[in-house]
Every structure is written in C-alpha cells, then in structure tokens.
C-alpha cells in the first residue's frame, strides 16, 4: 500500500515511452539554438480529469508545469519543485504522485486527476467538505495536494486509523501547521461524522 506522494513516485517507471509527441517544424531560428526554440517544443496529449488534452509545451516541462501552464489547472501548486513537500500532488492512474518530479512527456497514456477533477462540478468531495468544516485550511497553499492524498487514502482504505492518516500526509509539508485539523477532518470524513455531532 503506497500512501505518501513521494513514496509512490518511486514505484513508477522512471521513464516511459513518450507518446503523442510530434516535433514541430521550426517557426524561426536555427535548430539547436537555445531558448524556447523549435527543437524544444513538443506536442503532448495528456489525459486529464477524464478528457484528452493536447498541448504544445517545452520538452523540459514537468507535469506540474504543464498542468499549471498550458492546461491552466492552477490548483496544483509548486512549492519546492523537487519532491520534498508534496504540494504538487496529483493522481496518476489513481496513485498520488509529485507532479514536479515527472516530465510531462513521460506521462503517456496514464490518467491524471488534479484537484479540479476530484469532485463532480459544483460539488465538494467529502474530504473537501470535511477540510472546510474542520478548518484544515490556513493559507491554503499546501491544501490541494493534501486533499488529493487524503482522498486517495479514503478511496483505498475507507476506515483508516489516525496513524494511517498521518502516514498518508507524511510527505506533505504545511508551514501553517494544519496537520491536526487535516487528520481530524480525514477521520471524520471516513466515519461520515460531522464536527457538530
């Protein structure tokens, strides 16, 4: 059972065949010139929140950068940009991963779920509702990533213990200190409890 975003990443193949990539003809500048030159641009199809999305991006883009840039899904946050804080957590085929540690061209056919795709439009996932109710949100910057890990935990383990929740968010850094309320919110969501009960 993989529970933390950073641990999960280690279980993925480091490089997979890049699919849907077609080098574009050079619009300007000689091949190999530095900058956002032609050889650096790739066209990638990513399967995000249930839909295929084809975008042109710098081949050096991480998944996090592709999501936040051309795909304009800015709920995924970049805080450390090297897999130490888990703010950028998304699901890859359902498993939470640090999207800053994966090149967009390496994602291939795998299904990506971001915070924007967690709940039905106009509704809150039970974890999101519990985070609101328990004030498991302060500045809110680490929140989307933490919500993704807690939601994955509940999906895989509907009755987690407190230790399970701690472990599930152990890769997430929160400088405001929302851990106690995030743990309480996740346990409450698991039991269907409300803070008012």
């Amino acid at each position: 059972m993989l529970t933390t975003a950073s641990a999960t990443l280690g279980a993925l193949p480091l490089v997979v065949a890049a699919q849907g990539i077609e080098p574009e003809p050079a619009p300007d500048g000689p091949p190999g010139s530095p900058g956002s030159g032609p050889v650096d641009q790739v066209r990638v199809t990513l399967h995000v929140n249930g839909s295929p999305r084809t975008v042109d991006l710098d081949c050096r883009s991480t998944l996090a950068e592709a999501l936040r840039g051309p795909l304009a899904l800015k709920g995924t946050k970049i805080a450390c940009n090297r897999g130490a804080c888990s703010a950028c957590t998304v699901w890859l085929d359902g498993a939470p991963v640090c999207s800053c540690m994966l090149l967009a061209v390496d994602v291939g056919e795998r299904r990506i779920t971001t915070i924007e795709g967690l709940a039905e439009p106009g509704r809150l996932h039970p974890i999101q509702a519990a985070f609101v109710e328990h004030d498991a949100v302060q500045c809110g910057f680490c929140t989307p990533g933490m919500v993704m890990s807690c939601a994955a935990l509940l999906r895989d383990q509907p009755r987690p213990t407190e230790a399970d929740v701690r472990r599930a968010i152990s890769g997430h850094l929160c400088r405001c200190g929302t851990y106690p309320h995030a743990i309480a919110a996740t346990l409450a969501a698991a039991s269907g409890r409300s803070v008012h009960e």
């Binding site: 500048g29 010139s33 530095p34 900058g35 956002s36 650096d40 710098d58 050096r60 936040r68 304009a72 800015k74 709920g75 995924t76 946050k77 970049i78 805080a79 450390c80 940009n81 090297r82 130490a84 804080c85 703010a87 971001t114 915070i115 924007e116 709940a119 809150l124 999101q128 985070f131 609101v132 109710e133 328990h134 004030d135 949100v137 302060q138 500045c139 809110g140 910057f141 680490c142 929140t143 989307p144 919500v147 929740v165 701690r166 472990r167 968010i169 152990s170 890769g171 997430h172 850094l173 929160c174 400088r175 405001c176 200190g177 929302t178 851990y179 106690p180 309320h181 995030a182 743990i183």
Partner: protein
C-alpha cells in the same frame, strides 16, 4: 466629558465577570456583551474562502497570468563577499526572447559589493522562464572576491574580515526597529543597545541565590509554502502590482516612494497569500527588480523565487547567543536580572532578544545589553514573534534552572514572580490538563526512553495599527459587502471581518461578502505583529453599526418607531420594546434612498489610551500572553526526542472564532516544535554558501512529528475597542521551544542550552558522543 464622548459600561476581566466604565467617542458603537450573549462572534464559522482553497480555486500570486506577461529571473552572486567591478549584459540582452534587463547594483561604485552568496546582481525578463534562465548564463560579471566571515563567533574575533565599514553599515532607525540608530560599530559588532531599571549590581548583592548560563539559538528560515512572488504591471496610467504580501497598504507606500508615483496611481492586489510569517512584509529586492523590468519592457513581469532563493534571500530568524544572570531570594523573589546578547541577522540589523526579559517577571533591577553581529549571510527579517522567540528560549530555561536551585516547583516560582493574573489562570488550567502533579524528578524514568514535562511562558505586545479602515456597504436588496485592503495570509482575517459585521447587522456570517487584499479599498493594517484582528475588527464593526443606523432610519417610519428604538437580529429589524413589530433586513434595505448605503470607519484609539504610539503603530496597555506545557519522550539510545503532547493556554482579548484560533495556535506550536527539534540553516565555513537551501535537508515538522495539541483560549475582556479582540499568531509561537527544552531536561536530567535539540545534541549531552568540531 463632552458631546463627542459618552460613558459606557463594558465587560471586563476573565469571562467578562467584571465590568468597567469607559469614556468612548460618541460615534463608536455600543459595547458588545460577552461572547456567550452573542450570535456570530465567538462561534466557529467557516472561512468564507475555505471552499475556494480546498478546490484549489483561490488565486495566489503565483497563479496570476496576464496577457503578454514576461518571466523574470535574478542573477545572484556565487561569492559570500565580492566587489562587483563590471557586469556585461550585452549577450544577455540580445538573447532570444529577452525583453528587458536591469542591474541590482551599480558596478564599479563603492557600494557595488555583494555581501552574501545569493545577493542579487542583475535581472532579466524574457518571454519564457527557460529563455530568462539562459539569458542569466550569458551575463558576464567581473567579481573581485573578498575575505568573508559566516560564523558569528569568528566574526566577533579581532582581525575578522569586516562585513561593513562605518560608512556602509546599516544605520538603524529612530523607532529602534529593527535596531536603534546611532549605536557604535566595532569590527563586526554593533551596539550595545542598553536598557534597564534599578541597579543590577545592588540586586546581585541582595541575592541569596545566583544563577548564570549561556543559551544559543540557530538561524531559522520562514519556509512559506507559496514562494515570494510578484506580477508587476507598469502601465502609462499607473502601476498595478500583484504580490504575495502581508501588507498591501505598506507596499503601496514603498512603491510610490521608490518610483516617484502618486499613491492614487499605485495599486497592490492579493487574493490569497500562501504564508508569510514576517518575510512578506515589504516589497523586497525581487519586487523592486520586477517593477523596474516591467517599466523597461512595457509589459507585465512575473518573478517567483525558487526554493533555493527562498532559503537564501527571503529573510530569516537571526541566531542568538545570550548570557543570562539571575539573582533571587530563597523564596524566589527576583533581585536582579541581566541579559547580554549577541545575535546575527547576516548583513542586516535586528538580532536582539526584544524586551521579553524586561517585562515578563517582576524584578526591580534589570539590565539588557544587546549586540548585532554582522556576517556574510542573507539578511534576517521579522519572523513570528521576532526577538521574543529566542529570548524565551533563554529566559524561560533560566527560570526553570533557578527554580531547581531554589528547590521550588517551576510553577510555584512563576506564581511568585509573574505579575499577570491572566497567566496565573493559564498556568492553573494548563497544569491540570497536562497532569503537572504527576511530574517526576529530572531523569527519574528507569528505561532507555525517558519521559518529562516542561512549562514555559509567553509575552507579546498587543499591537494596533491606527491606519486601519473598513467600509461596509448594504445594497438595496439587503446584500452586504465589507471592504478593506487588509490581506488574509491564512490567519482568517476575512472570517473575523464577516463575523463582526454580521453580528452587528443581525445576519449570519455567510451573508457578508468580504472583499479584501486590494488597495483600491480603504487602507487596512499589516498581517504582522499579531495586529490584524485588533486593528481591523473594530472599524469593521463601527462601519457596520453606522450603516445600520441608516437602515434604522429607513425602517423607522414603517414600524412607527424612532430609529433609536430599533434593534437588528436574526435577519429582522424590530422594535426593542415590542418584538412583534419588525420587518426583514432586506425589506428595510429596499427602503434605502439610494442603491447602496455605505460607511467607512477607522480604528479609534484604545478606549483607555495606548501605552505607546509610534506613527501609525501603537501598543495597547495590556500585553498578550500564554502558557504552554510540553510532554516529551527522549530515547537515550538514539537521542530522538518525541513531543507527545503540548497544552497551549493562550489569551487574545475577546476570541472571535474559536476554531480558527485553535488552528493558529496549533500552527504556532508546530513552528515552535520544529524550531526546537529540527530546523537550522547551515552555512559552509569554507565556501560561505548555505548547504541546506531546500526543503529536503532543511527539516521542518511534518504530520508524524505533530503531537496531540490541546488548545485553550481564555476570554480576557479589556474594554478597549469596539470588538476588544487581539491577535494570537505570535504569542502562540513563543513558549513552545523552551517548554520542550524544559521537558527534555526533566526527562534526561541534563540541560541542553543550544537549539536545535537534535539526536546528536542529546547524545552529546548524555556523554555518548565525542564532541564534534563546530557542532
């Protein structure tokens, strides 16, 4: 007493059990009763922006994208000390995609010295981040490396490389923050700043027991999850800056002054700030460079610091070394207290230990002698209770050590020397919660894992910003909006504004739309100094009350009553003496003469005056405080310290939102725990570079380090403003580390006086490790 004032009776003391009479301005609203009689204030309503935050829909500054926006990057010095003789930007400026380049200093002039590794040299703006980074590599800099010093002890030795000369050194300012002007500089040591009372020499003569020790604290970095970020948009009509900031109002003033613009042409906007903790209080060098690049390129320019830049050049909590000397009678009465400190904020000033020791305990003879030491490291800045956090690490352990020499319980000693009745109650409540009575003698556990209990106290000024205004608008359909430029950095400022406005208008908090974080609204206070709640909730309530009078005037004719007879509650405006006569809030609003009734109010002085006033800032008469207890388990074989429980009993005047307060106190405790056990900026003595400029090797507390935290917030009424509410962010961060330090001593019977309390430090204290050079 005249027409512009009236005399009112207000709740006072713990739980509002007493009453006090105040003379207040006539245009202030009537006094609020204690929380138990209120509908919205004192309740844990949800944040208005919580749903957006859990959806990832909040727009942080890093999320702002404007059409044609360029990406800026900053070239930084690789040397800890170097003269910059020349900078060749030609190749960089010609690089593909580059639209502007600026220098951060003037090469070849006497001031062109990069005094720390990471100091800004130049910046470029390009059409992509990759192009900007490539352009940085094309900049040619002619550096003349100079001798440097990055260790505070080394910097104090005669003949050490000098970071500044008298001319170039920072001058301090008249307010004394971060350090007073006019102090002498000798080598790298500036000061001392001296304060005191009585005669310490006489106090030590009277003493029957003396205690003296040295305590040390490390450099801590802020580690905001959202990096420092700006999008600067220079337009012919004026400048708009999107900034991850703790102080929109202040940054607008900075920008106007720096770029010669009138205030009405400068706008600062932030929807959500992803943490600040003191480091986002000003524009910063990166912000200034972004504005210059935008001005040059005539395009919006975005600069977001990367994590390494965050760690090196976005501020930090200074390191300190404090020698504390205490004199006491056998019954615990303090006769003398002396604190001598040396601290370093790198190339900046402000590494003192505040007036923590001066104010916490009764002692007739006191002296404080504080020095700043310059080293070649990134500038420190305010961080959550600056000065008080290191100051408490020293003093609160010294008091514990004195108690042991007096063979007195640590709480009994504090009962004797602490004049605060509020903290006395906090000690009582906390001692019961943690089970203080079961505390054993130091090192008494027999197994390899030894448990212990510790206590420490907190003191922080009740800060107020006078330049704090809020506008409240009621539309003809009964909808309500509150507006201020104050920002919400995660503390829940928007929530408490909604609560006080809703309470006043007799509506639920969710009925109030809160529009904040934009200098187009009335000027709000900074979110630092634990002053936002104290500064903005009174004007928010006052503005709502004034608008309510307009509604009463509109409703009175229908209700056949005079406006003075009306009250608003549960969405209805009624006649006080005949509740059967009422109309809905919306129906009253429909009677307004114009589409919108609005009023703007500003922070009145505290009703009993301030202790001190400095420009826009003031300090209330009564301090904020708290008492924290820690229970730890120390593994004497591995040296690992686990904090199992913290009980935090705090006060903040009238609590507005208990659950948000609990969140903030938990955050203060966790930051204090992290400071106590994990965090430390490490600089390589040979290269002068930070070794752990990331979040892998710079450790902060995670979910598995988070103990059970019991939060108790007392209701301590002071009868000082329209809400009587104060802040809690900083006071909750002060006592944690010394409470843990005292608990570790109680567990193992050996005192650790330097932070952080790493496994190596514990094993070394237990004599299980050879002393490591430099550790």
């Amino acid at each position: 007493m005249n027409e512009s004032t009236r005399t009112v009776t207000m709740p006072f003391g713990l739980n509002g059990a007493e009453q006090v009479t105040r003379v207040v301005p006539a245009d202030e609203p009537p006094p609020l009763p204690p929380n138990r009689e209120l509908a919205v204030i004192g309740r844990s309503v949800a944040r208005p922006d919580a749903e957006r935050k859990v959806r990832g829909a909040s727009r942080f500054t890093v999320d702002v994208a404007l059409p044609g926006m360029l990406h800026g990057r900053i070239l930084r010095s690789p040397y800890p000390n170097a003269r910059v003789r020349a900078v060749d930007m030609v190749a960089a400026t010609g690089h593909k995609g580059v639209r502007a380049a600026v220098l951060a200093l003037q090469p070849g002039t006497p001031s062109a010295i990069a005094r720390y590794a990471g100091a800004p040299i130049a910046a470029v703006a390009a059409t992509s981040m990759a192009a900007a980074e490539e352009a940085l590599r094309a900049i040619r800099v002619d550096y003349e490396p100079l001798p440097f010093v990055v260790d505070m002890s080394a910097a104090r030795t005669p003949g050490a490389p000098q970071v500044y000369d008298a001319q170039s050194a920072p001058k301090g300012d008249v307010s004394g923050y971060p350090a007073a002007a006019g102090l002498p500089l000798e080598g790298n040591v500036r000061g001392p700043a001296v304060s005191g009372r009585g005669s310490v020499a006489r106090g030590f003569e009277q003493a029957e027991v003396e205690f003296e020790a040295e305590y040390a604290t490390q450099v801590q970095t802020h580690c905001c999850l959202e990096p420092h970020a700006i999008v600067a948009d220079w337009q012919p009509g004026g400048l708009t800056v999107y900034l991850s900031t703790q102080y929109t109002t202040g940054v607008r003033h900075e920008l106007a002054a720096a770029f010669g613009l009138p205030l009405n042409r400068v706008r600062v906007v932030v929807e959500a700030t992803g943490g600040g903790f003191g480091s986002k209080s000003t524009l910063g060098s990166y912000g200034r460079l972004a504005v210059q690049l935008s001005q040059r390129a005539q395009c919006p320019v975005r600069i977001v610091l990367d994590r390494q830049e965050e760690q090196i050049d976005s501020g930090n909590r200074p390191a300190t070394r404090q020698r504390i000397r205490l004199g006491a009678l056998r019954d615990g009465t303090l006769t003398a207290l002396s604190v001598t400190s040396h601290g370093t904020a790198g190339i900046a000033l402000g590494a003192g230990v505040w007036n923590f020791a001066e104010s916490l305990y009764t002692c007739p003879n006191f002296e404080s002698v504080q020095h700043d030491v310059f080293i070649n490291a990134g500038p420190g800045c305010a961080m959550r209770a600056p000065g008080a956090v290191p100051g408490a690490w020293g003093l609160e352990q010294a008091i514990d050590e004195l108690a042991e020499r007096l063979s007195m319980d640590a709480l009994l000693l504090r009962d004797r020397i602490d004049p605060s009745a509020v903290r006395r109650e906090e000690r009582r409540v906390g001692a019961e919660r943690i089970g203080w009575r079961g505390r054993h003698a130091p090192g008494a556990d027999r197994g390899p894992v030894k448990r212990g209990l510790g206590v420490a106290q907190s003191l922080w000024a009740s800060n107020v910003q006078i330049n704090s205004s809020c506008e409240v608008r009621v539309m003809r359909d009964g909808s309500v909006e509150a507006r201020s430029s104050v920002q919400d950095i995660g503390t829940g400022t928007g929530t408490v504004i909604a609560q006080v406005v809703a309470e006043t208008l007799g509506l639920p908090a969710s009925a109030v739309r809160v529009s904040i974080g934009d200098t187009d609204f009335p000027a709000g206070p900074p979110s630092y100094g634990s002053r936002a709640t104290a500064s903005i909730t009174p004007p928010a309530r006052t503005a709502a009350w004034r608008v309510l009078q307009m509604l009463f005037a509109a409703a009175a004719p229908i209700l056949n009553a005079s406006p003075e007879e009306l009250v608003a509650a549960e969405g209805v405006i009624r006649v006080r003496t005949d509740p059967s006569r009422g109309i809905s809030f919306a129906a009253a609003a429909a009677r307004l003469r114009t589409d919108c009734a609005c009023a703007t109010a500003s922070r009145a002085d505290d009703y009993d005056g301030f202790r001190r006033r400095m420009g826009d800032a003031a300090i209330a008469r009564q301090d904020l405080g708290g008492v924290q207890f820690a229970a730890v388990a120390v593994d004497t074989e591995t040296g690992v310290v686990r904090v199992e429980q913290v009980v935090a009993v705090q006060d903040c005047g009238r609590p507005i939102n208990p659950r948000q307060l609990e969140s903030q106190v938990q955050g203060g405790v966790l930051m204090g725990l992290s400071y106590a056990l994990f965090e430390e900026r490490l600089i390589d003595l040979h290269s002068g570079r930070m070794l752990n400029a990331d979040l892998e090797h710079y450790k902060i507390a995670g979910s598995c380090d988070s103990p059970r935290i019991d939060v108790v917030v007392l209701e301590d009424y002071r009868a000082m403003s329209a809400t009587d509410a104060y802040g809690i962010a900083e006071p909750s961060n002060i006592a944690t580390a010394p409470a843990i330090g005292n608990a570790v001593y109680n567990a193992i019977g050996v005192r650790i006086r330097s932070l952080p309390i790493t496994p190596a430090a514990v094993l070394q204290a237990l004599g299980k490790l050879p002393k490591v050079n430099g550790a």
